[in-house]
Assembly symmetry: C2
């Protein structure tokens, strides 16, 4: 299997410094204390993790639906990532996934079963097992 | 605490389909089966997760060094993310962090202790607890 690479920088101290995150084949993503902890406009590691989970889940769901005899057309998934002060410092106790899928074949019960299995089994879901991941999955005909 | 948001799409089936991952405040990041599993040029969820971890670690390290009486100038961190076929399907058993830090004050032993503690305690490290995370940390004067 190919390995994947990424990098990040931080310049200065926490309060006045600034950072970048860079997936090897994507642009720099800037962040700072303000965009992470103070609601300022901008990115942060939590939304980057959410993008990875939503992407992995969506791709895996297309495979799962095919394997269940359905034909996926389009999958749209959002992730809401909660950063909270916990007993051992800041952490991410919960991520909410919401997905809306256009697919033919199958039925609602089969769709729900595949979606639940995908949430459990996709590689990034398993990697983020320390958080509770909830899923709201909707099939649109 | 503010929550963070992201989204993703997948169009079509696994073999010929294509996806995007989008941290709410960053550009779309395209991916496909080929860029994830076949080494084709392009991004994938693993490098996006690696960017989030490297970013979180770098930011947290700046705080940790300050708290230990050191003055961080710049932190450069890379992440190598291993996607492998495991007993329960594909998963990420291991991520390697390599960091190079310019900072004044303190000494090598203090630096090593802070770096190890940061690897253990940063929010994204804790979230990815299902993987073994290794760290090679170097202090440059």
């Amino acid at each position: 299997m190919p390995t994947s690479k990424a990098s990040a920088t931080w310049e200065g101290n926490l309060a006045t410094g600034r950072g970048t995150m860079k997936p090897d084949h994507a642009a720099d993503i800037a962040f700072s204390r303000a965009t992470r902890f103070e609601g300022a406009q901008g990115s942060n590691p939590e939304e980057v993790v959410g993008a990875a989970l939503a992407g992995c889940f969506s791709m895996a769901l297309s495979l799962g639906l095919e394997q269940a005899g359905m034909t996926p057309q389009s999958i749209r998934t959002s992730a809401t990532v909660h950063l909270e002060k916990m007993a051992d410092g800041f952490g991410v106790p919960r991520i909410e996934l919401v997905t809306e899928v256009r697919a033919s074949g199958g039925d609602d019960a089969k769709f729900a079963a595949v979606a639940a299995q995908t949430k459990k089994g996709c590689p990034i879901s398993k990697l983020l097992a320390a958080a509770e991941i909830t899923l709201d999955a909707k099939l649109v005909r």
